[in-house]
Amino acid sequence: MAEVGQALELPLIAGNKRPGDVTNDVMGVIERRPSLLWWGGLLLSVVALLIGLVAVTYQVATGIGTWGLNGTVGWAFDITNFVFWIGIGHAGTLISAILFLLRQKWRTSVNRSAEAMTLFAVVCAGIFPLIHLGRPWLAFWMMPYPNGRGPLWVNFQSPLIWDFFAISTYFTISALFWYVGLIPDLATMRDRAKTPLKRKVLGWLSLGWDGSFRTWHRYETVYLLLAGLATPLVISVHTIVSMDFATSILPGWHTTIFPPYFVAGAIFSGMAMVLTLMLIARKTMRLEDYITPRHIDVMCKLVVVTSGLVGLAYATELFSAFYSGNAHEQFAFINRATGPLAWGYGIMVACNVLIPQLLWSSRVRGRLLAVFVISIAVNVGMWFERFIIIVTSLERSFLPSSWSSYTPTLIELATLLGSFGLFFTLFLLFCRFVPAIAMAEVKGVLHPHPRPPAEADGTSSVLAEVKV
């Protein structure tokens, strides 16, 4: 109990910061020359991105047959990656919008990066529905636009159309939300800019922010409104993504539990991804004071909760299949758990349900390396969840004559790698050019009365215990 009390006592931001320190710390990351670590990371990411680009170019030029798909398994890596990345994005919105509305002040340290992560994840996600088309150059036909063909509209019955709207809305709101949150920090950057051009551009971007009460007031209002607008998106986007499957007739896809199941999974995977990124960022960008063990601890708790939800969904799925009395349904789930991809199902259950249970222990939550490993495991597990849902249902559906299997080709592996390359390239560039921590918001949660040095030492001794 003492530990808990101590944790509650811990300030959100360590290091006994004053507002000016925050600005210097955060802006320092941007203003300093980038570290070798950053260059190394960028190099790796760009190489991965280029490999992906080559793969996608080759695939578009040659044909979608360069993927391992077949007449039975029409989707595999493509839609798995799509759902995976969309899921990753969810934590950003959750942190920035829902936690904002719930007055979770700890979010201030992570919300900027989480939102950026959302944007980049949605960009990565958006690529897959595009390139998975047989004729990607005609993707604009998915848009309902006035045309001379009748006019010929899209099929509003198709969940893929809902998807199109959901994701474009999501991207727009997320980008807007991120940008609005960035305005005060852009103003800070403008004020610190050294060249007139930079000052001018940042001046435009910060929309003439003057830091007056009225500006702050309107800013806060807009931000609150946008948070209110973004909140339903957290639920709606993945609900609609899940309908790509739930509205089909395929056993293993056609499940009413999918919307909440997918949303929980999305938040789960997103939280894990935020953890992964934050742990890397605080280490590489020396932001230990801003992203403290307390932040990690809170996010770990969210991971445990969502892991429980996901586990419940897995169990419910199995139970409803059993209880349905529908042979096709029962077969789909027995096949999922014991069929040719049973190993994947094992990975999924282990990584998503079993391993995160370790986070019940505060000692595990305090060991950042352990948390990091667990967060990676969850990312892997959640990727497999989507893969298992998609592929096991397709490869063994109604007619045994058409049963098939799926193996990814090099092109698909390269495309997956490329999407990570794109994500990390964008993220690393973001860290370099945009304040990775919302300075204005962090300043709002600083301890109003900085403690005397002795207490501050006590805090740092707590930090020192944390093993990284």
Binding site: T66, G134, V154, F398, S401
Partner: protein, 996 residues
């Protein structure tokens, strides 16, 4: 005088303007015009060329070709049908060849033909591709160099002349010739040289049958089997529904007989197949008895002995105990005896003794005159292995001066080809009449390429009294010459094929026809109809003589030993069509493997040898060796290793590049499959295909077999719950007894929702009778031809990307030894509540007001969601551009069907182009579309008449009547997709119910 104004000169670019007048070409050519010889450009050029050719044909020789239906004139763009005769094999089925603007694009069965009756087989359907094979020889050669026909003829006439003078041997080696004209000309040619002889052999020999008739009836003949008159059929190894003699005619008769009864089911019909491998015919049998290879003779002897006891005149035979349970034999015999006069026993054994015993059985059963016609014998197998053996001896002695090899490929077909090659090299004048440089033609001094059968005049009399004509449907694509013309030239009186055929008809056919009108009228009538039936001149009836018949001994048991069974595969037969990509890609009806032959072993033997599908095994017999991938075949005898003939043909290396080429494409090397012909046993009694003792050893290598089906049974293995075992089974079965109780007519489920679709006019639908369907796959290829379905190659097939719009699913039930087989043609079900339609984001798949699920290719963006959501998995995606392996094959494309580009989904359209054509034709004539006017390509080709297409809104239509019957069900009905394609249940005629 007014000043003449200079005409204005318009210019496009300044370069144009500044160039001197008259220099610019009227149509400026693209700088890279030569490099732009694209498919489209080629098609355009080719299309115009052939339209021109056709026009030339019509102009210069209107007396030649007569359309099946009299037309006042030819309308460009319309398809016209010409009656002809199939030249793909000796069965010589009647054809209607559809031509579009002067090029044949599709062949259909001629409904007027008394034997094939409008049906064709897969090989016949595919044979049209052979016409457009760019690797065919297009000119005569001498010494491997192009030459003229005059030169060739001079050389051959000189050779014949010198042989005539010196009395040297002239031999003409051909396959079976069903053409009366060709036969007459061959007789003339052979008679013109003192030491001339015509030797006939069949690549897959049946010579034991005529040999046996020589023993029992004193005449060497192949009888005409009438499966349509037989209730009880017992077949010893004969794959009469798949490859044996005339599978189309036999399938028609067999299935028609089984359908004769209430609800299309005959309760009397029963079929027992005694065989060592699982053949297509065996897969349809009501009772299948597995025996060791070569054991059928002994079992037939047991049956004969039992029958003779029942007949009251027991044979004085003492037989070793049969390998089959004697109760089974008793039952079989009793069933046969009870159906005397309605029973037929056949065997494809190449053992004359077995054939003799089979004749004895048929004699005891009174089959002669009822189910076996000796008065109108068949001409479909005329090969005589004894003659062949004698020829080989002559060749070995170097006695033959002139050898003309026509239409056969002995170096490939016959065992000991090395010896044959040595002997052939010693022949002074080796002349080949082949369509390409095959294994034999390569050795020939002179090659005289024959026309494709669609390019030439010809005739056929497959069964005595049924004579059909072939007419050319295209001007020959190269400088080839009909074999008939070559024969006339070499006989010294060159004649055109038309003249030769017409003259022979005037001389020999017309008098037999006893027609009242003039010959020209008779000729025109026959040409238009394609076939004429003549009353046979009945000679003295043949009498069975049972003197000195002896039983066949049991093959010496060889514990654990393996014996080879060589068989012709349904698609590849004897290998003469090995250059046909459609046939290579057609999944074998039983194994579902494409693009290969393989060594089939039973599951128990596979386990013993430690092999699984695709493990390369070494098959050794003496100094013969072949390495083949293994294939585990349930239902096969444990002592048998079955290998298909017809593979490993020279030149099939061309197919190594078939299919898309990309980073991870797996290409193959060498010919398609491996030849098993060396393993044929050539003995005094004829060539034999089974019984050779072999050893099989596993190698470490693997060879990926391109199979279209991975899961072979409906029962799901292991701990997984079986699906399809409940009342909502995918394949549903019934029994004769159940049908007697009326069955349950199909009633739609009540539904609270209003119907989405009203179908005010037509409502197209289809029924498929699973009891009739034999799985022969004629429909698969017919659909491929009709709908421009591409060939994708073995790698794509093994990646489950075969494009066939219509596939045949094959399921096994029972254990590994005793399997029951179900064939289920599966195509787009045209659901009323189609799962695919709802999910397409761009409305590329929509429901028509006539009940068709329509795929709009140019709207499709390729999300593949429709295919994922299709419970029948019938949608086919263009993963790549699938170009034709042979660019000339583009000429076979049906102009009424879009060629799909990469990235779009496609699937069965119920031949919408035929529906529209039928509707337009009816509306042009101001009548309603009559039932049966519109036939889908699959329906048209089906020899089993299992597929019926029509208007479900018309209660009188055949499809409505069938759909309303008690045998109807819909696949996956529980999904409430309401398919327009309905299936009729398989009828299981098992032992108990037939007694009950």
């Amino acid at each position: 005088m007014h000043q003449m104004t200079k005409p204005k000169r318009y210019w496009m670019t300044r370069v144009d303007r500044d160039a001197p007048a008259g220099v610019q070409p009227e149509f400026p050519t693209h700088p890279q015009a030569d490099a732009l010889a694209t498919r489209r450009a080629f098609l355009k050029t080719a299309g115009f060329s052939f339209a021109g050719l056709a026009a030339a044909d019509c102009g210069s020789a209107p007396q030649f070709a007569l359309p099946h239906t009299q037309q006042p004139e030819l309308t460009p763009g319309r398809g016209y049908s010409y009656a002809s005769t199939c030249g793909a094999c000796e069965a010589a089925c009647g054809l209607l060849v559809t031509t579009h603007d002067g090029r044949p694009t599709k062949i259909e069965g001629n409904p007027d033909h008394p034997l094939s009756g409008g049906a064709t087989c897969a090989v016949g359907q595919a044979s049209i591709l052979g016409l457009y094979d760019s690797l065919r020889l297009t000119y005569p050669t001498r010494g491997g160099v192009r030459t003229t026909w005059a030169d060739v003829d001079a050389e051959i006439l000189a050779a014949l002349g010198s042989a005539r003078q010196n009395g040297r041997a002239v031999r003409l080696l051909t396959g079976t010739t069903t053409s009366p004209t060709t036969s007459a000309l061959i007789r003339t040619l052979v008679a013109s040289v003192p030491n001339g002889r015509h030797v006939v052999y069949d690549p897959v020999s049946s010579s034991a049958i005529p040999d046996a008739y020589l023993v029992t009836h004193g005449l060497r003949l192949l009888p005409h089997y009438r499966f349509g008159d037989a209730d009880v059929v017992v077949s010893f190894e004969a794959d009469f529904l798949g490859t044996w003699i005339a599978p189309v005619e036999f399938t028609r008769g067999y299935t028609a007989r089984r359908r004769a009864g209430d609800q299309g089911v005959s309760g009397n019909a029963h079929h027992v197949q005694v065989e060592s491998r699982l053949s297509l015919t065996g897969s349809k049998a009501d009772r299948r008895i597995r025996v060791a290879p070569g054991d059928v003779g002994h079992i037939a002897s047991h049956v004969a002995l039992r029958l003779s006891m029942l007949a009251g005149a027991p044979l004085p035979w003492t037989l070793e105990e049969a390998a089959v349970d004697s109760a089974v034999l008793d039952e079989l015999t009793e069933r046969l005896w009870a159906s005397r006069g309605r029973a037929l026993v056949v065997t494809s054994s190449q053992d004359v003794g077995t054939q003799v015993v089979c004749n004895l059985i048929n004699q005891l059963l009174g089959s002669y005159g009822t189910t076996i016609d000796l008065d109108r014998p068949s001409n479909q197998r005329q090969g005589n292995d004894n003659d062949l053996q004698a020829l080989r001896a002559e060749l070995a002695r170097g006695d033959v001066a002139v050898l003309i090899v026509a239409g056969v490929n002995p170096v490939y077909d016959l065992p000991d080809s090395a010896g044959l090659v040595r002997d052939l090299e010693r022949v002074e004048h080796l002349v080949s009449v082949a369509d390409r440089l095959d294994e034999t033609a390569r050795l020939a001094h002179v090659v005289c390429p024959d026309h494709h059968y669609l390019e030439t005049w010809g005739d056929a009399e497959p069964v005595a009294g049924v004579v059909s004509l072939s007419q050319p449907t295209i001007r020959p694509m190269g400088d080839t010459r009909a074999f008939i013309e070559s024969l006339t030239a070499w006989s010294g009186v060159p004649q055109s094929a038309y003249d030769a055929v017409r003259a022979n008809w005037e001389q020999s056919i017309y008098p037999r026809a006893g027609a009242a009108d003039l010959f020209s009228a008779f000729w025109n009538r026959t040409l238009e109809r394609g076939v004429v039936e003549l009353t046979p001149t009945v000679a003295a009836p043949l009498v069975f003589s049972g003197d000195g018949l002896s039983p066949v001994d049991r093959v010496a048991a060889n514990a654990g030993g393996l014996a080879l069974v060589l068989y012709p595969k349904v698609a590849m037969r004897d290998g003469r069509h090995a250059h046909n990509a459609w046939l290579h890609e057609m999944p074998d009806p039983v194994t579902k493997v494409t693009w290969d032959n393989y060594a089939s072993v039973s599951p128990a033997t596979a386990e013993r040898l430690g092999v699984s599908d695709g493990d390369v095994v070494r098959v050794v017999s003496g100094d013969l060796m072949v390495e083949l991938p293994a294939f585990v075949q349930p239902g096969q005898h444990d002592g048998a290793v079955a290998v298909a003939l017809g593979y490993g043909r020279a030149g099939t290396e061309r197919f190594n590049n078939v299919g898309p080429s990309w980073l991870q494409a797996r290409t193959r090397e060498g010919p398609v499959g491996r030849s098993a012909a060396p393993f044929v046993v050539a003995g005094d009694g004829g060539r034999r295909y089974d019984g050779r003792r072999i050893t099989v050893t596993k190698t470490e290598r693997r060879h990926r077999l391109a199979s279209t089906q991975e899961q072979h049974s409906l029962a799901v293995p292991g701990a997984v719950a079986p699906i399809g075992t409940s009342e909502h089974s995918v394949v549903q079965e019934t029994s004769v007894a159940d049908l007697g109780h009326g069955g349950h007519p199909h009633e739609p489920h009540p539904d609270l929702w209003p119907r989405d679709h009203q179908y005010p006019g037509h409502r197209w639908g289809m029924t498929i009778d699973l009891d009739s369907c034999t799985g022969c796959s004629a429909c698969v290829v017919a659909c491929q031809v009709e709908n421009n379905v591409p060939v994708v190659g073995p790698d794509e097939v093994s990646r489950h990307r075969a494009m066939h719009w219509l596939r045949i699913d094959r399921y096994y039930a029972g254990d590994d030894d005793d399997v029951t087989v179900a064939h289920q043609p599966m195509l787009c079900q045209h659901c009323e509540q189609a799962p695919c339609e709802a999910v397409c984001p761009v409305l590329a798949t929509v429901h028509s007001s006539e009940g068709l699920n329509e795929q709009v290719y140019n709207r499709c963006v390729g999300t593949r969601y429709c295919a994922n959501n299709c419970p029948y998995k019938v949608r086919r995606f263009n993963w790549f551009d699938y170009p034709r392996e042979d660019v000339a094959a583009n000429l076979v494309l049906n102009p009424n069907v879009t060629v799909r580009s990469r990235g779009v989904m496609e699937k069965c359209s119920l031949c919408v182009q035929r529906i529209e054509e039928g509707k337009i034709e009816a509306s042009r004539n101001g009548v309603a579309v009559a039932d049966g006017d519109i036939k889908t390509a699959c329906q048209q080709s089906c020899p089993a008449e299992a597929i019926v297409f029509g208007d479900l809104n018309d209660p009188q239509s055949r499809v409505s009547t069938l759909a309303a019957g008690g045998r109807t069900y819909r696949v996956l009905e529980e999904l409430n997709t309401r398919p327009a394609v309905q299936y009729l249940k398989i009828v299981r005629r098992d032992e108990n119910e037939s007694h009950g």
